[in-house]
Every structure is written in C-alpha cells, then in structure tokens.
Amino acid sequence: MTGYIRPLHRLSRSDEPNFGGKSANLGELLAADIPVPPGFAISTEAFHAFVHDAGLEDRISSALANLSPGDVDGIGHASHAISEAMRFAPVPAALREQIAEHYANLGEDSPPVAVRSSAVGEDSQDATFAGQQETYLWVRGTEHVCDAVRDCWVSLYSPPAISYRARLGEVERAAAMGVTVQLMVDAEISGVMFTCNPVSGDPSMVAVNASWGLGLAVVGGEVTPDDFLVSKVTREVVREHIHPKDVQYVPDPDGKGAVRVAVDGERRAARSLEQADLERLVDVARRIERYFGCHQDIEWALPRGETERVLIVQTRPVTAISKKPDKPKPASAMSLIMSTFGAGPPKDA
C-alpha cells in the first residue's frame, strides 16, 4: 500500500491535485522558510480508499442521481444519507496506521492538532461555497484525529457543497478532498492579514485583524477584531481601530476541542498587538507575498507565552481586491499635469 501521507515540509505546489491547496501551500511556506507549525497532509487517494473500502461508491452516486441545484429537499436528503453512511464507515486500517505513525512524530503525549480540509482544484472562494473549509481544533489522540479526518470528508457532502457542485453541473463527479493535520498553536493572539488593503486596493499596506485566543473567533466573524493598517514601506501603523473583543476560543480544559469563553473585562478593550508584533507580522507577510508573487490572505497565530514568535497556519491568494475607480491612468508626467489644470483629457477618459 502506497503512502497516503506526507509531512508538510515535503510538499510543493505541484502536489495540489493530490493533497489539496491548503497542504500544498503550507509546504511552499516551509520551503520559503516561513515559520509554520509542523504537520502532515493526507492525500485525496486516502479519501477514495475510504469510500471504496466501505463500499460507499454506489450509495453516493445513487443518492446524488438526478439532483438539481434548486432541489433543496432532495439535496438535504442526499446529504443526510451520504453523511450517515460515511460516519459509520471505518477509516481504512492502513491509513489509520499511517496517521498514527505521523501523529506520533509530532510529539509525545498526544499533542493537540488542528485538522482541516484541503480543497482540490478550486480557488479558495469556491472552496468556501463548497463547504470545504472544515476545521477541527485541539484534536488529541489518533482515534480523534481519524474521526476529525472523516468529518472533513463528510463535509464534502454537506447540502451547500452538493448544491454548489450541482450548480456547476458536476454533482456526480467524484468529489475529492485532502486533509491537513497540523500541530496546534495555543494562540494567545491570532488573526488574519492581507498583503494589501483589500478595501482600498493599496498594495503598500498590510491589513491586519487580530483578536484574543485561537483564530476561530476572527475567521468565524464572532468578534470584531482589532484592525490595523500597516505600511510595508516604513512598518508604521497608518490607521488602527481597537474594538471590544468580548469572546475568544481557548483549548477545552478537558483537553479536547476548543471552547468559546468570555474575555476578561479589562482585556476586552485592550490593544491586542503592539508595534513590535505588527512589525514582525508585516515582515512575514512581505516574505510570503514575495514568495508567491501575488497578494495573500494569511492566517497567523502568536503562541501563548511567546508572542514574539509568528506562526503561519494558512495562506491563500487574495481573490477580491477593490479597485479605486478614480485611479489615474498611467501616462506621461506632462499629460497628467495638464489634466490637473483641466488642459488635457479628463482623468477618467
């Protein structure tokens, strides 16, 4: 049996078809010496083996037969039938063994990991529609990792995911998904950053959102994060808005999963990132942007007790950048000056 699993540092962009975009990108980040928590990637082949071994192929295709995108009830029923079947199917023993082996390599005493779906062949925005953004945090122990991996697979057949593929006319195409398993960062502060200002389109800015605890609260939109706009050129904060951050996700004290808790009174309104933190984040953002050659949407975390370490847990291309409508067209200095004085073609011509 071939390996279903590869350590993240052995992946590159070309592995995207087999391991999904998220895993491949993390491999690229490691190649670029960007600090990424260690982990491993599970290939799409593992998913196929799972479906095959459990004899689910026919059940899946019959449940999906003749569905139309608008058939809400039909999609709901299909989703339910497939999910139930998958949930009770075993993870193939060979895969389980490999997971156990790679998981053990991440550390002793069942280290907590994040298990995330790693979409194939779709850009990130589509992946969101396709429901392929499942994340299970603070998972511990091989059994629970295997369960989380299976839950990621199940998410391929959530109603929105089916509906999305139906709209593309691909409802019956064999869907596939990779899974990323990564050592969990117990983040004291975490958030996302863009290597441009996605609102204004300014490429000289890094836009940073930050809040307390694990990244879930920011990514899931459960808090209004602190909002910083930092110049790439001078690393100074050009604008900032500090918001009250009422809730955060922290590891469950029982040692499994993440729980949502209230943030202590004073800390709510406190500034989450200091200048030095922002400078470190901007430096990493610039390295990532340079490496990929396009604007990136990056999830980051600062570990509890050592917030001077920036860890990157995910990066993907920025898909939507607004363009300023009145951006002056490139032209000779003289013709631009002429239009300043109303002596040339109008600016928006």
């Binding site: 904060v237 050009v238 002429m338 004085f341 109303g342 002596a343």
Partner: protein, 607 residues
C-alpha cells in the same frame, strides 16, 4: 468644469453678517471694491466664498490691504492672462468685518476652455521643460529686486535744502524725492508679487499631480511619505536654523554658552557676551550669519507686524537657548541629512516597486518633475514672503517715521492704519506744507483716524468669522482652490455640517499619532509667548518663524493648510501629531479646553 447648482442655507449670506458692537464704520478701512456692496448683491450672494484664514487669519489693517490686492492681481495675471489655466481665471476677494473671503472665477464655456487649453499647454509646457534655467533667472531677479529695495531712500524734509540742490546739476528737492520714493516703494512690492506667482501655480500643480497619482495608486499612503519623497534636502529654508545650530555649537566650544539663560532677552545676552573676548568673537560670527539668514519673518509675511529676525531677535535667540540646552543634555540637534536623503530614496524605490511597470514609469516621471519644481515651491517663501517683505514693511515704516516726525501720526507704526492711498494723501499734504510753510491739517486729521481703527481692529480680532459665506457648492471643481487652499468638496461639506456645531473637527491628517492635552489658541504670532510646555497649539496657520514653539507643544491644529503647509512639515519633523485645514479650530476651540488630536485620522475632538 462641472456646473454646480447653488444651495442656500448652510452658510450665512455675506449680506446678513452683523458688525460686532463697537466696530461700526469698519468699511472705511477698505477699498470700495473690497466690500459686499448692494450693487452687486445678486451675483455676490449667489457665490461660494471661503475665509482665506491661511493668509489672512487676522482682520486686515488698512495699509496691509495692499497684500491682498497685489497678490490677487499677480496670481490672476499669471493664471488667467499668461498661462490661461483652462477652467479657472483668477480669484476675487471681499472683506467682511476685516476678514478676507475669496472665490474663484470659473470658466464654464467648453469652447473657451478648449481655447485656453492651447495657450496653457504651450506656455506651461515651456516652463516645465526649462524649469531649472528659468528658476535660476528668477532667483537672480529676486536678488536684484531685494537690492533695489535696499537702495531706495526715504528722504527727510530739511529746513533748508543742501547746497547741492542750489549749485549742483540734476538735483531734486525733497518734495519731489518723497513723492517719487513712495510710489516706487509700492511698485517694488508689486514687482515682488509678480515674481512670487510666476512659478507658483505650476510648481504646486506638478507636485499636486504627483500627490494625486500616489493617492490613486496607493490610496492609504500617508501624506508625509509623499512629501518625504519629494522634499528637498539642502533646502534654503532649513539654512537659518542650521546656522543657529552651528552658532549654538560655537557658543559651547568657545565657552560662552553660559550667557544663554532661559528668560534673558537678546539684549541682555548680547551685553554679557560683549564683556569677553570669546563673547565678542561669537557676536562677530553672528553678524556674518545675519545677512541673509536672519531675513526670516516671525509670521507668514502678509501682515506688517510680522517682523524679521533682524528686527525681533527674540525668536532666533529662543532657538539658540533651546539648541544650547539640548546640546548640553547630550542631544543630537543636527538634521541628519544623510539619513533623510537615504530614507527619501528608499521610500521612492519601495513605493515605485509596488506599482506595475506602466504606472511605475508615470510615478518616476512625476517624482522627478516634482523634485525639479520643489526648490521653487520651498524657496520662494524665503525670498518673497520673508526676505523681501519684511524689508519692504520696514521701508513703509520709514515713511511712517517721516509722518510721525511731522506729527501726522503719533507713532510710525500707525502708518499701517492708513490705506496706501491715504498715506499718499498724507505725504502730499506733508510735502505741500513743508514747502509752503503753511499750517498742516494732517496732525489733526490722521491721529484720531489711526486711533479709532486700532480699536476697531482689536475688537474685530475677537470676532470669529464663519469658514464660508454664500451658497454651498455641490462640488468644488476649481483646481486652484483645491490645490492652494485644500478646499475640496468634502472639506466644504464638512464645514457645512459643522455649522450646526459638534465637537469633532475634521481636517487633513498631516502628521500621525494621537494625543490629548490642553489647547492653546494662538491667533497671531505675537501671542506665541503665551504657549506653555505640553500644550496643543491651535492656530490659523504657522510659518517658519514659529519654529521655536514646536519644541514646547505636543500637537498642532490649524484652520487652513494642506499636508504641505508649514505646520504639517514641522510637525512631522518634530514627530508631533498634526491636523491641518480644519476650517474653524480657532473658532471652535478655546484655550484651556482638553482636546484629542488624531493626526492619523485627521480629527480633533473637544473632550
């Protein structure tokens, strides 16, 4: 030029503004054409006028009106008649309660605009292509003009004309000399204003285009980064303070620094220095620096009371004391020019590299042109507004002394309470009665007029003018209004909203940082002595002469000015938060109030 539908309501009508009590008759100080007159009410009431508090923050003394007329004559001549800026002719001004409101004259006919564009492209193009050469000639012209002003003599009226008049060839009598000298003095002033505006529009236009380009492509770029990329390094305007730093160091090296005690007057310091040999050599060194570097004005130069450092050394001496104490504390006081140059080139390179190739080449082009024009933009103030103008006011003062010696006015300074025509008239009577030996009426006529006007001006100074009058335009489209005053559509809408009151003022974010503190409202430069350490300066605008107080204050707020205004530039140098162009900070904020200045967002909040 877009058509703008007038909208009434937000700002008061210029015809409905009341005269403050005790100021009745203020109109007599100003020319008939400067007033909101019933005979053109229909037109004037339906225009948008904004208070030019950048240049005229205080009510105008009668004589100083010449510094409204001449600049607007000059700027209009270049803008409208030489370069023919297509959509904008010149600027009209009117006076309300002594304060100056201005309004641009648009060109709206598309055919006319196209016709003017032909002229503009050719003529402005010529200037841009030959900028450095033309600017070199300009400097020579200005230096010659300043020399000519220095050579202009204001004659006295002797009991008997000297023998040369009787026995020499081509000698003039004093009556002719006086009547000849006065209009010549006025004419030299006009000449300066003509020079002043020759390059100004084009210089600001080139820079403004670069700013717009940067903001289009890099919408969040801090204004000061744009300025840093363009600003000159060894700019003339930095020389005066550089010389003071050198003198401060010299004082320490030669051991005479003890003389520079806080609270001592320049005269007291000089007296102590004169007692020792090293002190005397330091004073000699100071003399060498004074010409030309002490030709700095203590204000923006448009009022007669903004004297030069030569006339009022308290400002440079305050700087000297500051520099010496900073050096004593082991601080680095030099402008790190190498570092500034490296940073300027680094910013330009980094920002350029963030643009695509095509935009990059426009960016580089505009940046180069902006750097070419910038010496003029920065230096014309030194030549025109400071060096020439402070000396020119002194020349007028000499006529004041002549009138005062003959009791036409009580004090030579009172000459500025008379209009330039009234001064001509007073001089006429003076030389007439000098010649005839008759009894002059002037000593009975002028002193009460001057006294009354000083009182009116004092009271007008306590009145707060609205930021604008007349109709609110839907859009400000006049490129000159936007470029030179920073009065944009948004700014006007903000002013209109603020007419209802409100505790947040908006302006341009000129220097980043947020700070809270006690406000000190300073209406004119002679009040800067009132500013206490750690206060926030709230003023109409500042000029290089205000430099010493920037080391005392912790933030700056101005009524008028853009990110290239003096207050903005200096605030950035000192790392102080600054919000400029709020329109009404001096009106809305009172000394002693606690305010928050957000120089990153451009807001000022009264707490």
């Amino acid at each position: 030029m877009a058509t703008t539908a007038p909208k009434a309501g937000a700002f008061p009508s210029p015809y409905e503004i009341e005269t403050p009590p005790g100021c009745e008759g203020w109109e007599e100080m100003y020319p008939y054409y400067a007033l909101f007159d019933e005979r053109r009410r229909e037109t004037d009431e339906n225009r948008f006028w904004f208070w030019n508090s950048m240049h005229f923050p205080m009510p105008m003394p009668a004589f100083d009106v010449i510094c409204i007329d001449s600049p607007y004559q000059a700027v209009g001549a270049w803008q409208n008649r030489v370069f023919a800026v297509p959509p904008a002719m010149g600027i009209d001004y009117r006076c309300i309660n002594g304060y100056i409101y201005i309004s641009g004259n648009p060109v709206t006919d598309p055919e006319k605009i196209a016709e003017r564009a032909q002229f503009f492209q050719q003529r402005a193009g010529y200037y841009f292509q030959n900028w450095s050469e033309l600017y070199g000639k300009w400097r020579a012209k200005m230096e010659a003009l300043i020399r000519e002003l220095g050579e202009l003599e204001v004659p006295d009226l002797p009991e008997y004309e000297p023998d040369e008049v009787a026995f020499g060839d081509d000698r003039n009598t004093a009556f002719y000399e006086v009547l000849d000298a006065y209009p010549r003095a006025l004419r030299l002033g006009d000449m300066m204003w003509q020079h002043h505006f020759e390059f100004l529009l084009l210089g600001y236009g080139a820079y403004g285009t670069f700013v717009e380009f940067c903001k289009g492509h890099l919408p969040d770029i801090p204004d000061q980064h744009i300025a840093q990329m363009v600003a000159g390094i060894d700019v003339l305007l930095f020389r005066p303070d550089a010389e003071l730093r050198r003198l401060a160091r010299l004082a320490i090296e030669t051991g005479v620094d003890e003389a520079f005690q806080q609270g001592r007057s320049p005269a007291e310091i000089d007296a102590e220095l004169a007692e020792t040999e090293p002190g005397r050599s330091w004073l000699e060194e100071l003399e060498k620096v004074k010409d030309p570097w002490f030709n700095m004005a203590t204000g923006d130069g448009l009022y007669h009371y903004y004297r030069s450092w030569l006339d009022d050394p308290s400002i440079p001496y305050a700087s000297l004391i500051g520099h010496i104490s900073a050096l004593g504390a082991g601080e680095q006081i030099d402008r790190p020019t190498d570092e500034i140059r490296r940073e300027r080139d680094r910013l330009a390179e980094e920002y350029g590299s963030l643009l695509d190739d095509e935009s990059r080449s426009s960016f580089d082009d505009l940046l180069n042109l902006s750097r070419t024009v910038f010496p003029y933009v920065e230096e014309h103030k030194f030549f025109c507004d400071y060096w020439f103008l402070t000396r020119w006011w002194n020349k007028i003062r000499e006529f004041g002394e002549l009138l005062a010696r003959n009791d036409f006015i009580e004090d030579s300074e009172d000459v500025f309470q008379l209009s330039r025509y009234e001064v001509a008239s007073a001089l006429d009577e003076l030389v007439l009665t000098w010649a005839t030996g008759g009894l002059p009426l002037g000593p009975k006529h002028w002193p009460p007029i001057a006294a009354r006007r000083k009182e009116i001006l004092r009271k007008l100074g306590e009145w707060t003018p609205p930021p604008a009058v007349g109709v609110t335009p839907d859009a400000v489209t006049d490129p000159m209004t936007i470029m030179l005053w920073g009065v944009t559509t948004e700014r006007v809408q903000e002013w209109a909203r603020q007419q209802d009151g409100g505790s947040v003022l908006n302006g341009a974010a000129a220097s980043p940082g947020v700070i809270e503190g006690i406000a000190r409202v300073v209406r004119s430069v002679d009040q800067i002595g009132d500013v206490r350490d750690g206060e926030i300066l709230v003023c109409g605008s500042t000029s290089p002469a205000w430099a010493p107080i920037f080391s005392k204050i912790k933030a700056t707020v101005t009524d008028v000015g853009g990110v290239m205004s003096h207050a903005a530039i200096v605030a950035r140098e000192y790392g102080l938060p600054a919000v400029v162009g709020t329109g009404r900070a001096t009106a809305a904020i009172r000394t002693g109030q606690t305010i928050r200045v957000d120089g990153s967002e451009g807001t000022v909040t009264v707490l």
